[in-house]
């Protein structure tokens, strides 16, 4: 594929949902076991996440999910077998077309670069979260300290029963590993 073809095919994807399979629905409702696991991993002892009595006395009126856990609820449940062979993609079907296109063009390395959250409200136990992600932009080819690459930016809108509870801009660099000389 020529560079011009790649740019054209990437441009066709911009502004569209990154997945053909529709919005991502969290496999489980907001729940205490996953919150407790998260809080322990990050040693975040904020009582509104795990102490029902303290949380009831807080402005939130009860246990809430850590706000920056928002992205975690709708992460794909991974198929562990073969994950390295799939380049870390959790499942066969979860990969966005834009990433496949860049992989095929040799930009196989992936590095997160920016994450920007707007938290509209905190989430309570039992709520079901849905994430809808649209490809916002793909940069022209840039020279980075890792090699040549494209910055890919998508915007995710998080909803509970169609109510927007948060938004996220996420940007990654897809780069050609070991390409520093170019």
């Amino acid at each position: 594929m020529s560079g011009a073809d790649l740019v054209e095919r990437l441009a066709e994807l911009v502004g569209r949902p990154i997945s053909d399979t529709g919005p991502t629905i969290a496999p489980d409702p907001i729940n205490q076991p996953m919150i407790r696991h998260w809080a322990a991993a990050f040693e975040d002892w904020n009582p509104v996440y795990t102490d029902a009595e303290a949380a009831a006395q807080s402005r939130f009126g009860g246990i809430v999910a850590p706000p920056l856990m928002l992205q975690t609820w709708t992460m794909a449940t991974p198929l562990i077998t073969g994950i390295a062979e799939r380049g870390g993609s959790p499942t066969d079907v979860s990969r966005a077309a834009v990433l496949n296109l860049l992989d095929e063009a040799g930009f196989v390395g992936t590095l997160a670069s920016n994450s920007e959250f707007e938290i509209v409200r905190y989430l309570h136990l039992g709520e079901m979260l849905t994430a809808t992600t649209v490809l916002e932009s793909v940069s022209d080819e840039k020279q980075t300290r890792l090699g040549a690459g494209h910055f890919v930016t998508w915007i995710t809108t998080y909803t509970v029963d169609d109510e927007v509870v948060g938004r996220q801009l996420f940007r990654i660099l897809k780069f050609r590993a070991g390409d520093e000389s170019s």
Binding site: H37, W38, A40, A41, F42, E43, D44, W45, N46, P47, V48, A54, S58, R59, P66, P67, L68, M69, Q71, T72, M75, T77, P78, I80, I83, A84, G88, P90, G109, T110, L111, A112, S113, N114, S115, E116, F117, E118, I119, Y122, L146, L169, A177, G178
Partner: protein, 147 residues
């Protein structure tokens, strides 16, 4: 080494001033911390738990995932501001990677203080450094109930 502690009482918005420093937070970086954060945030990319895989990708070791970075930024903010603080916005940019054995120090300061009805708004800028350079730079907005 600062031990993880429960956040203290929620800070009083009326006492917050532009230029106030947020108490630093130090993370002792181990492979366990990186793996624990990756799995708790449900990010199973092998570069965040498999050193050999990371080596194949050109990295000298496994490194922390960005979901862990945003999690630690949130903890840094609420450890200071307290349990009634609400994180309304967080925007970070990643610089050098966070590897095992390269401890990270978070620092930050207040850049604006505003009031919106019965809520106090505090804008901050924050930074996380290790011995390789700037790992995270960012800005955040928290709100505090007025009393």
């Amino acid at each position: 080494m600062n031990e993880p502690t429960a956040p203290r009482a929620t800070i009083d918005w009326h006492t917050v001033r532009v230029g106030d420093a947020i108490p630093p937070m130090v993370l002792i970086m181990s492979p366990t911390r990186i793996v624990a954060g990756a799995i708790a945030s449900r990010d199973f990319m092998p570069v965040h738990h498999d050193r050999a895989y990371a080596n194949q990708q050109g990295a000298p070791n496994m490194f922390m995932n960005i979901l862990s970075d945003t999690a630690y930024c949130s903890r840094f903010l609420t450890d200071w501001a307290g349990p009634d603080a609400m994180v309304k916005r967080l925007a970070i940019r990643l610089g050098v990677p966070a590897f095992p054995n390269h401890d990270i120090t978070y620092t930050g300061k207040v850049t604006a203080v505003e009031r919106d009805g019965d809520e106090g708004i505090v804008e901050v800028e924050l930074q996380a450094l290790n011995d390789l350079g700037e790992h995270v730079s960012g800005t955040a907005t928290i709100t505090l109930p007025l009393r």
